[in-house]
């Protein structure tokens, strides 16, 4: 479900699943926290394959964003579709996450 690529500047976490719900949120949390534990606190989450996401997964992303920030890093989102963009706006999280192409 998750591919991890270590770029020079950032750790790219690519979610290779179209729909991520509560059942996937634990896997996502563990993968992201695992990177923070290794000292990789500059994280880009690639959502190019993700069509839908629920509030539990948004919660995981926010939680890891906070921890990454506390350690001087970041958590950015990459390649989000219109639905995810709308969802970020509805939940005001467009004011939290930086989104790249």
């Amino acid at each position: 479900m998750i591919e991890i690529v270590y770029d020079q500047e950032t750790t790219i976490i690519k979610i290779c699943k179209e729909r991520i719900y509560i059942e996937e949120s634990t896997i996502l949390r563990n993968a992201l926290l695992g990177e923070l534990d290794k000292g990789n606190n500059k994280i880009t989450v690639d959502l190019s394959h993700v069509q839908y996401m629920d509030s539990s997964c948004l919660g995981v992303l926010v939680g890891v964003y906070k921890r990454a920030k506390e350690r001087g890093g970041y958590l950015n989102l990459r390649a989000i579709n219109q639905t995810i963009s709308d969802l970020l706006e509805i939940t005001h999280l467009n004011r939290v996450f930086a989104v790249t192409e």
Binding site: Y21, Y52, D54, G59, G63, T83, L87, I90, T91, R95
Partner: protein, 141 residues
Amino acid sequence: MRTNTLHMSFHDLKGYQVTRDCMQIYLEAYAGEQASLVFIAANEAIYNALVHGCRMDPAKRVEIKLSIQNQKRLLLRIQDEGTGLQRIDFASLQKDDYTPDDTALYGESGRGLLIISKVFDRVLVGRESNQLLLIKNFPNG
């Protein structure tokens, strides 16, 4: 005009997953360009019914009825066998003046109801409060 209705019930996580997938197929077939967000919001509502309404008790049932009338009005009725919803604080759901450092933005849970209230045009709680009626109007239906 005949209305195609999705009418399902479930007791557990597996039943929730099946219901969720059926709702997705139904909405992609009938809800047009609104399908994705409506599906995400509907999913939040049925998951809440299972977890907060029935508290994952397999003896308790969640029943859903989803229909789109005349291609312009979507109704989702969700009934669970729990003790009922707490009062919904609609005023706090309307709050929009968050700054990026507002701590309220950084909670790890509690966004389900916000998504439901923003996506649906009306959120009605039944008299016995374990029934929720969600309505979405499609202006160009």
